[in-house]
Amino acid sequence: MKRILAFIIIFSLVFSLAACNQNKSKVENISEMEWNQILESAKGTTVNFYGWGGSQMTNNWIDTYLAKRLKEEYDITLNRVPMNIDDILNKLLGEKQLNTEGTVDIVWINGENFYTAKSNDLLYGPFVEKLPNFKKYVDTDSVEVEYDFGFPVEGYEAPYGKAQFVMVYDKERVKNVPIDHKTLLEMAKNNPGKFTYPAPPDFTGSAFVRNIIYDIVGYEQFLTMKADKETVKKAIEPAIDYLKTLKPYLWKEGKTYPATIAQLDNMYSDNEVIMSMTYNPNSVAGKIITGEFPETTNTFVFEKGTIGNTHFLAVPKNAPNKAGALVVINFILSVQAQASKYNPENWGDLPVLDYQKLTEDEKKVFEAIKIGKGVLPQDYLLSHRLPEIPAKLIPIIEEIWIENIPTEGE
C-alpha cells in the first residue's frame, strides 16, 4: 500500500510540475498605472536580471552596488542570472512556443539580438516613456537612443551604457602608433606575426573588420543599404582587398585567427602579439590594475574615429514582474547608478545620460571620477565616435569575411 502511495505521489509531482506554469496569469496592466502605483506594486518583489555574465567586474557591480541599493531604496530583490544572449533568446522563444508565463524580467540586449527579439514579438513595450529618469536625464532625440544598430528602438529598450571600439597597444613595443588603416598596415609589416584580430563572428573581431571598412570606404552609405549580399560585397570590396594585403603580416601569416577576444588578450599579455583591441574603452585600466596588461599599455582610436554603440535593457513580453523591472531600469538611469558604473574601479562603462540635462552638482559627480591608466578621456572618445552599421548587414559582412579571408590562397 505504501509503495502504491509513493507511486501516486511521484506521478502527481511530475505532472503538477509540468502543469503549474500554465495556471498563473496575473492581469496587471502596467501601461495604465501611475509611477507611484508601479513603485508600490514592485515593493517586496524579486526581479530576474538576465544578461552576459562574462566579466567579473560587471557581475560585481550588479551584485554589490545595484542589488544592494535596490534592496535599500525600493525593497526589491535583484536576482542576476548570467546567460549569453543567444541562450536568453532561445529561452524566450521556447517560452513563446509553449505559451507559458516567463521567468525573465529584464534582459541586457542590443544590436541584431534586439532586432531578432523585437521582430519576433518577444518584447514588452513601449515602456521608456514611463520612466521618470529617462525623461529627466536622457537625450531622447539622439540617434544613439532612438536607433540600435540602425534599427528603430521605439521605446522597447532603455539605454544601459555606452561602449566604443579602441585599439590596445604597448607603448614599449609600438613606437609609431597607427592613425588609420595605412599606418596600421605599415606597423604590421614592420612587426610581422605580431598583430592579429579575433575571427568574426567574435564580437570584437567583427567590430575591427567594420572599423577597417569605415576607414576605407566611409560609413554613410551603409546606413541605408539594402541587406543584400551582392550589394554589400561590392561596397566593402576595397576593405576586403586591404585585409588580404594585411594577411601575410599577421600572426601565423593570417592562416588562422584567435577565436575569441579573450584569446587575443591572452596572447597580448603573453607577449605573443603587440596589440589587442576592445569594445569597452575603460576596461584597459582595470586590466592594468589586475596586472593582466603591462603598465605601459595604452589605447588609441583611428583619426577618422571608431564605432561606438549603446547597450540597452529590455523587458520580455512574458515577464512576470514588469513593475519591478521598470523600477530597476529607472534606477539604473539615475545619476548615482550611472556614475558608479562609470568608475573604472567598479566597471568603467560609459554613461548614457545627457550632460546638458545634468545640474552643476550632478556634473561634479562624474567629473570627480578618475578614469585610470591607458584610457582616453570621454570627450575625445565622443568626438571620434561613429554610428554602428545596421544590424541586418553584420551577418552578411561576417559571411563575406569567412568566405574570403581565412581560406584565401589555397
Binding site: 506521478f11 549569453n84 543567444d86 513563446k96 601565423k252 585567427y257 603573453d270 544590424a391
Partner: protein
C-alpha cells in the same frame, strides 16, 4: 507485484522526463531541419536546407576536417593504448603508481586538457620557452605552429592524451582477465612472446578494442569544446559549425544548424548500431576461455 516489471515501473517517472525532453528535442530539431519553425513564421516542409548544406563547399570541408580529426586521433589512441595496456600487463609491479597515473587523464575534463595543451604547446607556451632558453630556437615563432592549425595537431594531441588511457584501461581489464593458461600453452608449444600477443591475446581483446574505438570515435566526432578552443578559423569541425549557425542572431538561419545536427545524429546512430553489433560479438566470445 511482479519483480521483473518493478525496476521499469520505478523508472517511469524519471524516464518520462528524460526521454520526453530528449525525443521532443530531437523531433523539434528534425522539424526545423525541414524548415518547419512556426515560432518565427516558417511553416512549410522543404528539403531546401539539406540540399543547400550538402552541396556547400564549407560544409564538405568541415565534414572532411571532422572525419580527419576523429579517425586519426582514434586510430592512434587505439594503437598506443593497446601497447600501453600490454606493457602494463607485462610489468612486474602492477599495482604501483602507474595505475593511478595512467587513469588520471580520464578524470580530467576536456576543457582542462585543452588548457594544459595550450600552456605547453602555444608559441608562447612552456615548451617553446624551454627550447628558447636552451638556445635551440632563437625566436618563439620558430617553434612549429601546432595549435589553431589546419593540421589539427593540437586537437589530436588533446584527444590522444584523454583517449589513450581510456583504451588502455578497457583493454588492460580484459587482458588481465584472460586466463594465463592460454598463453602458457602457446609458449609451451614453442610460440614466441610476439606470436602469443598477435595470435592469442589480440584476437581475444579485439571486440573490446573495436567497441572502445567506436566510443572514442563517436565522441571526438561529435565533441565541441576542443575544436572550438584549439581549432583553426577555417575549416571548422561540424559541431562548431552547427554552434555558430545556431547562435546566428538571424533566427531564419536555425534550419541550417538543425540540418548539421541531424547529420551528426545520423552518424551517431550508425555508430550505435555498429557498437551493438560488436557487443554481441563480445558476449559470444566471453565465457569460453575462462
Amino acid at each position: 507485484m511482479n519483480t521483473k516489471l518493478k525496476p521499469y515501473l520505478l523508472l517511469i517517472p524519471v524516464m518520462t522526463i528524460i526521454l520526453g525532453i530528449f525525443t521532443f528535442g530531437l523531433a523539434m530539431g528534425l522539424a526545423q531541419s525541414f524548415g518547419y519553425f512556426p515560432a518565427i513564421g516558417l511553416k512549410d516542409f522543404t528539403l531546401k536546407y539539406y540540399m543547400e548544406i550538402l552541396t556547400d563547399k564549407g560544409f564538405l570541408s568541415s565534414l572532411k576536417f571532422s572525419l580527419y580529426i576523429s579517425i586519426v586521433s582514434s586510430i592512434l589512441a587505439v594503437i598506443i593504448g593497446v601497447a600501453l595496456a600490454y606493457s602494463i600487463l607485462q610489468s612486474k609491479h602492477k599495482k604501483g603508481i602507474e595505475e593511478i597515473v595512467y587513469k588520471l587523464p580520464i578524470i580530467i575534463p576536456h576543457t582542462v586538457a585543452v588548457l594544459i595543451v595550450y600552456n605547453i604547446l602555444a608559441q608562447s607556451g612552456i615548451l617553446p620557452r624551454i627550447l628558447f632558453h636552451l638556445g635551440l630556437i632563437h625566436d618563439q615563432s620558430q617553434f612549429p605552429s601546432m595549435l589553431f592549425d589546419k593540421s589539427g595537431i593540437g586537437i589530436i594531441i588533446t584527444y590522444l592524451w584523454k583517449e589513450i588511457p581510456f583504451i588502455a584501461m578497457v583493454v588492460y581489464t580484459v587482458l588481465s582477465n584472460i586466463s594465463n593458461k592460454l598463453s602458457e600453452v602457446a609458449l609451451n608449444l614453442g610460440a614466441s612472446k610476439r606470436q602469443v600477443f598477435w595470435h592469442v591475446l589480440l584476437p581475444l581483446v579485439m571486440p573490446s578494442i573495436i567497441s572502445s574505438f567506436i566510443i572514442i570515435f563517436a565522441f571526438s566526432f561529435g565533441a565541441f569544446e576542443v575544436p572550438y578552443l584549439l581549432g583553426p578559423t577555417a575549416p571548422k569541425t561540424l559541431p562548431v559549425e552547427a554552434y555558430i549557425e545556431y547562435t546566428n542572431p538571424n533566427l531564419a538561419n536555425r534550419p541550417y544548424a538543425m540540418v548539421i545536427n541531424m547529420i551528426l545524429t545520423f552518424f551517431s546512430l550508425v555508430l550505435i548500431w555498429l557498437y551493438q553489433k560488436t557487443f554481441k560479438l563480445i558476449s559470444k566470445y566471453s565465457g569460453g576461455y575462462r
